[in-house]
């Protein structure tokens, strides 16, 4: 069964460093998302991406964040200068045309030290 894959599963980075989280969405899906879950808190929407551009972003998704689909398969989230409060589980999701539900990857746990 097709699935969304995320790499790495766990990333530790020093505060102020740039980090790139990678995702391979399901191949025929057209809509892509990033969510995050800070430990003990709810899953929060970050950004949605369609047709090679951001379609919606939350207040969390400030100038430190960017997304990119550099080729036909990968979808990346870049955090330019990480802060301690960026420590969280980051989930990538994708959605096919005509569906309302999204399919999630297993997440990348980002720890900023």
């Amino acid at each position: 069964e097709p699935e969304v894959t995320q790499t790495p599963s766990h990333q530790v980075t020093q505060m102020g460093q740039e980090v790139i989280l990678r995702c391979v969405p399901i191949s025929n899906h057209l809509y892509f998302y990033w969510y995050r879950q800070i430990l003990g808190q709810k899953v929060e929407f970050l950004v949605s991406f369609y047709n090679n551009e951001i379609s919606e972003k939350s207040e969390i998704f400030d100038d430190q964040f960017s997304v990119e689909r550099p080729d036909g398969s990968n979808f990346t989230l870049k955090i330019r200068s990480t802060k301690l409060e960026d420590s969280a589980m980051y989930f990538c999701a994708s959605r096919p045309q005509g569906a309302t539900e999204a399919f999630f990857g297993q997440g990348t746990r980002l720890t900023v030290v």
Binding site: V4, Y31, Y33, S48, Y50, A93, T100, A102, F104
Partner: protein, 115 residues
């Protein structure tokens, strides 16, 4: 704005007994609602979805949920709990189409199943 409230942060049941996980929603129009499950060290898996068709929705692993507009509820049920059902469960509402159907999550309910 579309939102959901999960009424219990933790639910504990004995194996073989019924499961009830409660969720209320707030929406200015007929929403799309979902239940997702997260097992330890796993991703978020879709259990079931409601999208304005039948109000009683059947999902995977014997779970079902009933959409009740009069009560603005979408509770998740299962007749008989299994040990493997122990996980975190999220009630989720889809935001408007013009925002790309972004999902708004509840805070989650942790289900514990005891022998």
């Amino acid at each position: 704005a579309q939102s959901v409230t999960q009424l219990d942060s933790h639910v504990s049941v004995s194996e073989g007994t019924p499961v009830l996980l409660r969720c209320n929603y707030s929406s200015s129009y007929s929403p799309s609602l979902f239940w997702y499950v997260q097992h330890p060290n796993k991703g978020l898996q879709l259990l079931l979805k409601y999208t304005s068709a039948a109000t009683l929705v059947k999902g995977i692993n014997g779970f079902e949920a009933e959409f009740k507009k009069s009560e603005t509820s979408f509770h998740l049920t299962k007749p008989s709990a299994h040990m493997s059902d122990a996980a975190e469960y999220f009630c989720v509402v889809s935001v408007a189409a013009n925002s790309g159907y972004a999902l708004n999550f509840g805070k989650g309910t942790s289900l514990l199943v005891t022998p």
